[in-house]
């Protein structure tokens, strides 16, 4: 379905967007299996209407919001670099709304130190959920200042159309300066919380996946270097990885004084 939105040039990279076929054909969405082409093959069975997001926790007005209302928020196109922890990257023209616009609807209180995102579970159409490859639902989290940062968006579209299911329809988070797994897909629940959430990958491999997971060429994954990345569909991993995925000017101040090797 067409979803027109004007590009916000100030927040968009001038890097050429990756072909749509690649963005929609090469996905990590373990609910649909662990192969990169599994989501494109079977995510179309996911039911994305009706769709609501339950928003609760430390907010003044907890509520359930329908996807239609999210789509009526001020949408714009953001062309972002997307860097996977597996050392490949893409450039994607998302359409979405700043997360802080949604937060304003519920009014986080002073106790809201973190935000926890919970993804959908539809076992009947999700072979990965039935196989229990990991503990679902998928949970991710951000510190409140990270979530409220203008670069953090709720994406509802891609390439001028509504979001394909394999990319996390109907609504997902995009946090462009963090590894891709921080950008949870198909969100059904958002909680503002006082304590740092334990994300799915932290539970699985705490030594390999930290809470922050900011893109950082200086901190290797235990099993591979993060110094370079492969900009798909390149053969060579010849693109140097930039601190905070190239968004350091906008976000480095969020981590002033923090040891990023310790808080990886």
């Amino acid at each position: 379905m067409k979803l027109p939105a004007a590009r916000n040039a100030a927040f968009s990279t001038t890097d050429a967007p990756t072909a749509k076929k690649i963005i929609t054909g090469y996905n990590n969405f373990y609910e649909f299996g662990m192969g990169k082409s599994d989501p494109a093959a079977s995510a179309s069975k996911m039911s994305v209407r009706p769709w609501t997001i339950e928003i609760g926790g430390a907010v003044e007005k907890p509520r359930t919001i329908g996807i239609e209302e999210v789509m009526r928020l001020p949408l714009e196109e953001r062309v972002y670099r997307f860097r996977c922890v597996e050392a490949w990257s893409m450039v994607a023209p998302w359409i979405g709304v700043e997360f802080n616009k949604l937060a304003a609807l519920v009014g986080p209180t002073s106790k809201a130190k973190y935000v926890r995102f919970t993804s959908v579970v539809q076992p009947s159409v999700m072979s990965g959920v039935r196989a229990e490859v990991i503990d679902f639902p998928y949970v991710e989290g951000l510190r409140i200042d990270e979530a409220m940062h203008p670069l953090t968006i709720l994406a509802v579209g891609l390439y001028g159309e509504t979001l394909p299911n394999q990319n996390g329809a109907p609504v997902r988070v995009i946090v462009p300066w963090k590894y891709g797994f921080k950008s949870a897909k198909s969100i059904v629940r958002i909680d503002f919380v006082e304590d740092q959430p334990r994300s799915t990958w932290m539970k699985l491999q705490p030594s390999e996946y930290g809470f922050y997971s900011n893109v950082n060429p200086a901190v290797d994954h235990p099993r591979w270097s993060q110094a370079r990345e492969r900009r798909l569909p390149d053969f060579f991993a010849s693109t140097p990885t930039l601190p905070f995925n190239g968004y350091a000017d906008q976000v480095a101040s969020l981590y002033a004084g923090m040891d990023l090797k310790k808080f990886f």
Partner: protein, 229 residues
């Protein structure tokens, strides 16, 4: 020059040696995955998917592992089927395991590290799955080099076969390499591991229990010579 025509008037390749006739065919079959990759790189990159380098690394790594297991399957298959000539395919399978292993390493050096030698060395030292994978290929090299009849003669059959027992360690390292590399889905490392366990287990069984059981049979065979003797 030896005549292609055998004494009975038929061409040698068409006579008594099916292995010799089959070899070129098996060679082409073994080479086909590599030819297909070359074709796709040159003419149809989209067939390699969104991450062609990763596809090439997976295909070559898988093939290397499969040929290694195939090499190790020859001896049990000979015993079970009684078709002793299978042994004449073993060297080819082993060399193809090495060939695909070299392609796999080359892809890693070129695609993943972009020929950055210090980074590659650091990677080999730092990451156990790279260490064991690299070790497997290093160990395979002398086996590939000494795979000729000339080298068997030079080393002596006993030394040669002792050296080539390294293939067991290589196969174990190969499975470990795959096992430690995957993020979550252990299905294939487990399948390869199970096949390797069967192939090695068969050898252990054959060397110990099997030998004990066969002994009386051999004695009987000597006592009652068949019509061929």
């Amino acid at each position: 020059m030896r005549s292609a025509r055998a004494a009975d008037g038929r061409f040698a390749w068409a006579t008594s040696d099916p292995v010799r006739a089959l070899k070129p065919l098996v060679f082409l079959l073994c080479l086909a995955p590599a030819l297909l990759l070359v074709h796709d790189v040159l003419y149809d990159p989209e067939a390699l998917g969104a991450n062609p380098a990763e596809t090439i690394e997976h295909v070559t790594g898988d093939r290397s592992m499969q040929f290694l297991l195939g090499t190790l399957a020859i001896t049990p298959l000979r015993r079970i089927t009684g078709w002793g000539k299978l042994i004449r395919f073993r060297r080819m399978l082993g060399l193809f395991a090495f060939f695909y292993g070299v392609l796999h390493l080359a892809a890693y050096i070129a695609f993943d590290h972009y020929f950055d030698v210090p980074a590659i060395l650091a990677d080999i030292v730092k990451r156990p799955f790279v260490t064991v994978g690299f070790a497997a290929l290093v160990l395979m090299t002398p086996l590939a080099v000494t795979s000729t009849a000339g080298w068997i003669r030079r080393l002596g059959a006993q030394n040669w076969s002792r050296l080539h027992k390294a293939v067991y360690a290589i196969a174990v390292l190969g499975v470990l390499h795959y096992w430690w590399l995957v993020k979550r889905d252990l299905t294939w490392p487990m399948i390869y591991g199970a096949i390797l366990a069967v192939l090695l287990g068969w050898r252990v069984w054959n060397e110990t229990l099997g030998r004990q059981r066969r002994r009386p049979a051999r004695v009987r065979a000597r006592a009652e010579p068949g019509p061929a003797e």
